[in-house]
């Protein structure tokens, strides 16, 4: 229980840091984003819009601590202001309409990569020196050396443009209404395959190597020798004895991965024009939509922290050593 509370306190501090960062950035940065924005959209803005912006970005005569208290209150009550590029939609609504796609893409890719990578790692450690163990890791490392977006663009070119197997952009065909029909789900699935596959391709190596290295250490334990001496089936020893105990670091990585599902797919979403929060973040940056930008960053941070906290709770269940501390 103490452990959980300690972690909770840490995550609250981390969240407070990101809120404060958000508050301070537009106020203390050189280049003054407010005037940049006013200059760009002069004449197109309505008075309320300008008023809302002034408040959010701190073009405000009140003392800074008063603004800060106001800002904190607004964040805590879920008021993140109004989007500029999609005026007058509130930022929270814009984010809500997009986070689903990000979660779908990120979770699918993460689960596939974690399952495949861990299985490969288990096999590689179990048969050290076999083809899986000696040939696959260097290959995956070489693939991992390429910039991710470059591989993704290459895949898009090969499978989308030349072969025409995969759709070129977006999460579903234009004109189709999102609904729970077979037609729509199949269409969304077809749009999901290539983006998810590119993420799996670059991340599976990390999972595999991590699992392999822990597994090798676990395989040297006495209870594995004991299990072999008892004449248990190799499959049982491999999964129930060795892999089960080597799982713990992978659980931590999964938590980290779960957190980065929301923010980490930014490049994927940009390359495939996938309508998630990462794609929206870049659009907000390009459209100088500061309220939306800040809202997205806070949402992404909150998601990362929440996922890590959930994994901490899971960790207490899985590892008795943490509980006794």
């Amino acid at each position: 229980m103490r452990f959980i509370l300690r972690r909770l306190g840490f995550y609250l501090i981390a969240f407070w840091v990101s809120i404060t960062l958000n508050f301070l950035l537009p106020r203390f940065m050189p280049g003054d984003p407010v005037s940049r924005m006013f200059a760009r959209s002069a004449g197109q803005m309505q008075p309320e819009q300008i008023e809302a912006l002034r408040k959010l970005l701190g073009v405000d005569e009140r003392p800074i601590w008063e603004q800060y208290a106001d800002y904190l209150y607004n964040i805590v009550t879920g008021n993140m202001g109004v989007s500029i590029t999609r005026f007058p939609t509130p930022v929270t609504e814009v984010i809500a309409s997009q986070i689903g796609w990000t979660l779908l893409l990120g979770t699918t890719a993460l689960v596939i990569a974690a399952v495949v990578g861990n299985l490969l790692g288990i096999l590689a450690a179990w048969r050290r020196g076999s083809a899986i163990d000696s040939a696959l890791p260097p290959l995956l490392i070489f693939i991992g050396s390429f910039p991710y977006f470059w591989l993704a663009m290459g895949a898009l070119y090969l499978f989308g443009v030349i072969l025409g197997w995969a759709p070129l952009r977006h999460a579903f065909t234009d004109g189709l209404e999102p609904a729970f029909t077979w037609e729509f789900i199949a269409d969304a699935g077809a749009h999901l395959v290539l983006p998810a596959l590119t993420i799996v391709l670059v991340s599976v190596g990390g999972w595999m190597l991590g699992m392999r290295n822990t597994m090798i250490a676990t395989n040297a334990e006495d209870y594995i020798t004991m299990a072999e001496a008892k004449g248990l089936r190799p499959g049982r020893i491999m999964f129930r004895y060795a892999a089960r105990n080597a799982m713990l670091p992978s659980v931590t990585s999964f938590g980290m991965g779960l957190g980065f599902v929301v923010g980490g797919a930014l490049l994927t979403e940009v390359v495939f024009a996938y309508p998630g929060v990462g794609y929206q973040l870049l659009n907000a940056v390009q459209g100088l939509d500061y309220p939306l930008m800040q809202g997205l960053f806070l949402t992404i941070t909150a998601a990362v922290l929440l996922a890590n906290f959930l994994v901490d709770i899971l960790y207490v269940r899985l590892d008795p050593r943490v509980r006794s501390n």
Binding site: A14, P30, G31, I141, F142, L281, L296, F297
Partner: protein, 332 residues
């Protein structure tokens, strides 16, 4: 320092050993002001350098890297003039005249790629050295002072580790005025925490060794113990961190520039890819505009990774003993 008094038989040796080792390193490199350099000239270094020189992976990696550095230095000689100058020879396929063809704006891709290595290597190396340096400072201070300092620094490190890197990069790059300095600064801000965490856990395990306790008792200054006693003993892990940071710097710079958040007027591999995407190079089938820069990034990253593995291999016996300790601490 009760732990120091206990193993009295070995203590005199330790006390003698560490001061002799420290001046020796100072004599070998009087012109080494940076702590990273102070870590190298010590007895293990001979083993490390010799091991690396006889290691195939390290030699292959170093050769690739040297070729790129040479190309970067020779770029103005090989391709004089501004590589991004727009000409009317647009969209040419690779030919003897233009080895890698031209872009939609008529720029020679070969010239762009070789000139691009200058900015990419510069930013990668700067970011790598700077974030490793910050990581060393934070990690050593954390491990040496312990207690409150450690708690505070660990908290800051963990917060920076948890903040999602890429979105933070995008936000920072959006608020700061565009330019090479901004890119470098932003990458250091988002990149130092990882190295600090690794170096802290390694420094912690060395901090608990007897020779450090001996140095404390003999009244050496904090800075001297951190940089002359602890740092030289983690040279290999500092080297590994440095290589990882350089890889991170090159990759993250390319990603940032690909998103159009760098300084789009400079020539670098990331910007080449940004313009390739912007001009629809792939949609029109001009793969030669798109392939070279990405391949160069991959080759440099691969070369650095090779050297990293070689360092691991050469120093393996020690690393194997220490690794579980540091991993156990990291997992906590």
């Amino acid at each position: 320092m009760t732990t120091f008094i206990e193993p009295s038989p070995s203590a005199p040796e330790v006390i003698v050993a560490s001061p002799t080792a420290a001046p020796a390193s100072a004599d070998q490199s009087p012109a080494a002001p940076s702590p990273a350099a102070a870590g190298k000239p010590r007895k293990p270094k001979q083993g490390l350098v010799h091991g690396l020189l006889t290691n195939t992976k390290a030699m292959v990696g170093a050769s690739i890297l040297l070729v790129f550095i040479a190309l970067a230095l020779l770029a103005p000689v090989l391709f004089p003039g501004d590589p991004s100058r727009i000409t009317d020879m647009a969209g040419l396929e690779p030919s003897p005249e233009h080895w890698l063809g031209t872009t939609a704006k008529g720029q020679d891709v070969m010239a762009l790629t070789i000139h691009g290595s200058r900015s990419s290597l510069l930013v990668g190396l700067t970011v790598g050295f700077a974030s490793t340096f910050v990581g060393i400072l934070v990690g050593l201070a954390s491990a040496y002072f312990g207690k409150f300092v450690d708690e505070a620094l660990s908290l800051v490190t963990n917060v920076f580790l948890l903040l999602p890197g890429l979105p933070l990069l995008v936000i920072l790059a959006a608020f700061l005025p565009p330019g090479l300095g901004t890119v470098i600064l932003v990458l250091i801000v988002t990149g130092w925490a990882g190295s600090a965490r690794v170096l802290r856990s390694q420094a912690l395990s060395i901090r608990s060794k007897d020779f450090v306790a001996a140095a404390v008792v003999s009244g050496e200054r904090a800075g001297r113990i951190m940089f002359r006693e602890i740092l030289p003993n983690m040279a290999s892990i500092v080297m590994g961190t440095l290589l990882a940071c350089v890889i991170y710097g090159i990759g993250a710079q390319a990603g940032l520039e690909f998103l159009g958040l760098g300084d789009v007027s400079t020539v670098s591999w990331g910007n080449n890819l940004f313009w390739a995407g912007n001009e629809g190079a792939l949609l029109t089938g001009s793969w030669w505009v798109f392939v070279p820069s990405g391949l160069c990034i991959a080759l440099v990253a691969f070369a650095l990774a090779l050297i990293n593995y070689a360092v691991d291999e050469v120093t393996n016996p020690r690393l194997r003993k220490i690794k579980p300790v540091s991993e156990g601490k990291a997992a906590k």
